[in-house]
Amino acid sequence: MTMISEEHKKEKLGFEETELRLGLPGGGGIFNEDLVKNTNANGKRWYTETVDLKLNFALKETEKGENLQKEKSLISCSNDSVKPPPKAQVVGWPPVRSFRKNIMAVQKSSSEEGGGGAATFVKVSTDGAPYLRKVDLNMYKSYQDLYCALGKLFTMGKCDSQGMMDFMNESTLMDLLNGSDFVPTYEDKDGDWMLVGDVPWKMFVGSCKRLRIMKGTEAIGLAPRAMEKCKNRS
């Protein structure tokens, strides 16, 4: 038993483990209430270290208080935060089988307004705005409805609902793209960024994963691809 108090003095794991006797099940007696806790075994910190390793984020960066915003996996960590990063994608957590994940992903993106599907919330980001918003595409019946709603969410001067409706007309779109106006784009099921307005509304709701209101100059390249994709689809 003197071995144990020496261990307590050392207060570390390591080679002294090899000095332990192997205990029988249910007995032992090696452990008692004074056992020193692992120094690096604060449960919460442990978790963030694990997440850290898996996602290759340096813990130091987050401790500086920087908010690293990434498109897919958001990690917002502050020094005082007791909770681990809430939106980090940890391998195998929550414990959902892959065939269940796939089913739900497919069902989410193909939800129709035929009275049954869940709300289709998609994120809306606007270049220059610090916060994203969310809209439920099922609440709208047409592009016009959507533009009105987006116009209310983001006040952008010229880009009011009337201005956005002009995008449905191709020639006006090109005019505006030559300027510095805002252009609504979306990411579809395949991960491609598309111009809003090309496909029938229902098809759009079924394939839109997120919206981004881009600055006109950046959106120039999108228009030709959008046309191509529409052809391929039909």
Binding site: F15, P25, T50, W93, P95
Partner: protein, 581 residues
């Protein structure tokens, strides 16, 4: 004078023993009983394919007709076991092909099955009847073609939750025209469309068909035709039910279902348009098992259906059911024994549905026979857990997944130790437990003290120190399987309880703090265990011994170290040296 029954009489008596436990006990009585029993054992269950070799099994039991083998550890379901880890079935099939010509049944779980294996099965066993591949992978629909074409007496083909490389739906057409023995077909995991006319003909000519789980590709408008040909069905799984609702489709479906007087179990319902659900009302009162876990239908529609199922014993559903739906469940379904609630949107940080701990509390209060629970939710409290424990001391399986790791009691912000403590204290017959939320070593003290019948425990992001693990290993007398991820458990508890590991099937620890040195020591001291380090960073020798291993899988075995290890698995051997495969 020694009186003893002739062998034939003993054999006749032993034939009434179906449980492995009883047969194992019988074989320990004396040498002659051991001999008689081993010649008449017909069913063998192998819980870990690496615990024993095919040769050992065949040597001891020469006349086996049915084998069930499990491969990868359970955490493989959640992608924690790397690809190419192992669990190949081919060596088993090849050995049995030589020694068990009369084999009738092969049931596999989490194993790698190749087309080659399937072809060998189809050609080696003349009386082959049952093939069940649960959560398996490695084969294509070509392998299924071999089975369909060659197994003339096939009764069951069950592919549940397997990952099949789907080359085409043509495999089903390989069942010969004179093939009529099918009793059970589960093809729900397949993607491709099979020839509908071939399916219709198959169903028509198999009068004993009791179980049919279709795949998603069979549209709802074709169901009526199939059901009319098989009104004797007991278990039925639809395909996708997303076709826009039409009166003729609906009324055909109503008529077809009303002809199915023996239906007890329903599943499928992918993308179901809620308006179709009433087509099933005529069978609801007989339904005992309902799997709605693919149906993204809202609570009111779910309640409409469930309220008709007064004899429901088992419900699998998405969290769209919400607390309100669970309240309805608890009032309509008094016979409920098993409830599984799956998350519709597991990766979103905010709740998308109104499902809380309250739903589970209500069901625990209203359903006196509830014994098995799997519940995903976003908040939990000690008060709720205590209430559940007091309401339902007859719980046997309790798996709770609070989606946010280390989430505390949302009311008090305390750990959930006392809540889970109440579960193990009140539910004395508890055999399986999965924990989640914020947990300290305290909960393990409760578990070690009270959970004496616990056989399987799953832990994630829990505990403070080795003391936690020590409580479990030293206290849980019936423990067979322990799987741990991301817990601060290390060398001390493991080494102090090394002998315990020989009484268990297996231990899995990943992202914990078990050092390579401790693994080596464990391997040295325990020759009856395979201590396997899984580490994709390269040989553990190339790092200091005190560095923690990525993953550790320890299991008892009589087959010695694995001969088929991939390059990221190392067995800690008796002589302390590393062995590579």
């Amino acid at each position: 004078m020694v009186y003893s029954f002739p062998e034939e009489v003993l054999e006749y008596v032993f034939a009434f023993l179906s449980s492995d436990k009883d047969r194992n006990a019988v074989s320990l009585v004396c040498k002659s009983w051991y001999e008689i029993e081993r010649w008449c054992r017909r069913r063998v269950f192998i819980g870990n394919c690496y615990a024993v070799s095919p040769q050992i099994m065949i040597r001891r039991f020469p006349e086996v007709r049915a084998v069930k083998i499990k491969g990868k550890p359970h955490f493989a379901d959640f992608n924690l076991v790397p690809e190419r880890w192992g669990a190949y079935v081919y060596p088993w099939i090849s050995a049995m092909a030589r020694s068990y010509p009369w084999l009738e049944e092969i049931k596999l779980k989490r194993m790698v099955v190749t087309d080659e294996s399937l072809e060998l099965i189809s050609k080696s066993f003349k009386n082959f009847k049952v093939l069940s591949l649960s959560s398996c992978e490695g084969f294509t629909t070509d392998g299924l073609s071999s089975i369909a074409a060659n197994c003339r007496n096939l009764r069951e083909l069950d592919l549940r939750e397997s990952e099949v490389e789907d080359l085409s739906g043509h495999w089903l057409s390989h069942f010969p025209d004179n093939f009529t023995s099918l009793v059970s077909l589960n093809m729900s995991c397949l993607g491709s469309e099979v020839s509908f006319s071939a399916l219709e003909r198959l169903i028509s000519r198999c009068p004993n068909l009791k179980t049919l789980w279709l795949n998603r590709a069979v549209p709802v408008e074709k169901l009526a035709s199939l059901l009319r040909r098989a009104p004797q069905l007991v278990e039925f799984g639809t395909g996708a039910c997303s076709t826009e609702i039409r009166t003729d489709i609906f009324s055909n479906l109503v008529e077809a279902f009303s002809g199915c007087k023996h239906l007890k179990s329903l599943s499928g319902f992918w993308d179901v348009v809620p308006a179709y659900l009433p087509a099933m009302y005529s069978v609801c009162s007989r339904i005992t098992k309902l799997n709605l876990s693919y149906a993204t239908v809202q609570s009111p529609d779910l309640v409409e259906l469930i309220s008709q199922c007064s004899n429901l014993k088992c419900l699998w559903v998405l969290d769209y059911i919400e607390d309100a739906g669970l309240k309805a469940l608890s009032s309509y379904c008094k016979d409920l024994q098993e409830l599984r609630v799956f998350p519709s949107d597991p990766y979103s940080a905010e709740p998308n549905v109104s499902l809380t701990e309250q739903g589970l509390v209500t069901v625990s209060a209203g359903c006196p026979k509830l014994q098995s629970v799997l519940y995903f939710c976003r908040q939990m409290s000690n008060a709720a857990l205590i209430a559940i424990a007091r309401n339902r001391p007859n719980l046997i399986r309790f798996r709770l997944c609070i989606i946010e790791p280390q989430a505390p009691d949302y009311l008090t912000l305390e750990p959930l130790d006392t809540g889970f403590g109440a579960i193990v204290e009140h539910c004395k017959e508890l055999r399986r437990l999965s924990l989640s939320g914020l947990l300290t070593d305290r909960v393990f003290e409760y578990i070690g003290t009270h959970a004496k019948k616990l056989e399987m425990l799953s832990l994630a992001f829990a505990g403070d120190s080795d003391l936690g693990l020590h409580h479990v290993l030293s206290g849980c007398e019936s423990l067979r399987k322990l799987e741990i991820r991301d817990c601060p458990f290390g060398d001390r508890a493991l080494l102090a309880n090394a002998a315990k590991l020989e009484t268990m099937r297996s231990l899995w620890m990943s992202s914990c703090s078990v050092s390579y040195g401790a693994c080596k020591l464990l391997g040295q001291k325990m020759p009856n265990l395979n201590v396997e380090v899984i580490d994709e960073r390269g040989p553990p020798d190339s790092r200091p011994e005190s560095i923690s291993v990525e993953k550790l899988y320890v299991y008892r075995t009589v087959a010695g170290p694995r001969a088929d290890k991939p390059d990221f698995v190392w067995t800690m051997d008796e002589d302390g040296a590393l062995r590579f495969s």
